[in-house]
Chain length 257, copies 2
DNA sequence: TAGTGGTCTAGACCACCTC
DNA sequence: AGGTGGTCTAGACCACTAC
């Protein structure tokens, strides 16, 4: 039992009070000055304690307002059904899912020609630095930034499917468009990772310290080669991904926690 | 272009120098005193800047030593193959995978009877607080803490499969043991989430600030009901999960980034 | 012993929000 | 105007690591 530093003790006490409901989700914590008096510590020490809780994603702070206990509303994303090879894929699946959940979807969209970054190139089995089409999507739910999605299509595919490079949405969905050209996605490989956001990501997704991002990379394959690579960056506090594998007939994917 | 606070500028400069290789993975940063002189800032301001990088998982610090740039060695986990309904499951799959990767696996194991927490109970479709068997595993790779895994089996299953409650490993694997009793897992549902570790998790996995955990919940189903719920807590900086869905025959799951 | 980061203080000034 | 958090300083002392 070694002595804990004072700022840790403060963080521990406050964490316990948040856990047991003394300060419920969405409620405000006492001000730094009040806590300073309560714990007989300098304001800076109190700040260190609060900072620990911020880094753990338990509370947020805003200038002039105070510290607020985070609420967690997670959105479920069924990755194995999401784009079920028979379904449309892009904007549509997102909008449909969100609308079905009684929420309001919104997204901005951008298409550009880029040089392929290494991470994507290895997955598409093309050369790093070669050309590819990037279709980029910034998604919101109820006007809260939710995720960004960047899909790369290799250069060679463009010759067969020129509409991929056109700005603006493809009404019927890109997967369906490609299928109509005889290019069918018959399987995909998903990779999931997590880390703290880069400053750019933190800006786009409006996340503060203490909230990680989830990185979801989906590489789609036709019968003979990779045809696309989609990197989705999700706010870790708002999203949960699901996969259903095997025979789950008769099982409702029931939620809640 | 609003003026950035000084500690942010310091963090940005150092981040750029880390990115461009001035300070490579594993190398040491200059001391706080040196940085303080370089940036003409007080030691505390420099510490704020360094602290920002720590929270982003870019560097770590240790008393008496200094700040070190993090290295990232990720371990790939194929979740859709991992326990392929035909394969053995528990300890074995982990040890096999790790050994195949040329690393040294190690794990501690514990079995206990517990009251079922709500999160697990809803998934197993049993009452919160009812009894269940918890088989808990703490896993290491090359003596670095890697993940913890907690599998709950419902009370009713115990009557049919008493060995689940016995301490010690089940040699042939629990899935195989259950199958030999006519209880076959015919499908599962995975849920993936990410967040910052709780203090307990941080202790068990030896992670500092700036490294999130990935939570992987797998609920296994027999033909008529859930038979187990496994919660795996993974160090976010060391693990990546993969799912392969659809027809990927002829495709090697190629890696590297 | 010297150098590193870890903790803590007291006080100053600024930026933002609410009234 | 008054209260909130955000930034910054200067200095003190402690704990750990290296030599």
């Amino acid at each position: 039992m070694s002595k804990q530093p004072k700022y840790q003790q403060i963080a521990d006490v406050l964490r316990r009070e948040i856990d047991n409901g003394t300060y419920g989700p969405g409620s405000r914590l006492p001000s730094e000055a009040e806590l300073s008096a309560r714990f007989d510590a300098s304001r800076n020490t109190v700040r260190s304690g609060l900072n620990a809780l911020v880094s753990q994603g338990l509370i947020t702070s805003s200038q002039g307002l105070g510290y607020e206990v985070s609420k967690h509303e997670v959105f479920e994303l069924n990755a194995s059904r999401f784009e079920n090879l028979t379904f449309p894929q892009n904007g549509d699946a997102f909008s449909t899912d969100v609308t079905n959940a009684g929420r309001h979807p919104h997204q901005t969209f951008r298409v550009e020609l880029t040089t392929t970054p290494e991470y994507v190139a290895t997955r598409l089995k093309i050369e790093t630095g070669s050309r590819s089409v990037l279709r980029f999507c910034h998604r919101f739910v109820d006007n809260v930034p939710w995720s960004t999605q960047a899909t790369h299509y290799p250069d060679w595919l463009l010759a067969e499917a020129p509409r991929l490079a056109e700005p603006g949405d493809i009404a019927e969905g890109t997967t369906r468009y490609l299928k109509s050209l005889g290019i069918e996605q018959i399987g995909y490989r998903d990779e999931l990772a997590t880390r703290m956001p880069t400053p750019d990501e933190a800006r786009l997704l409006e996340i503060g310290a203490g909230v990680p991002v989830m990185l979801w990379t989906r590489t789609g394959y036709s019968h003979d080669r990779p045809i696309r690579c989609t990197i989705t960056t999700l706010r870790g506090d708002l999203n949960r991904m699901n996969y259903e594998i095997g025979d789950l007939s008769g099982w409702d994917g029931n939620e809640s926690e």
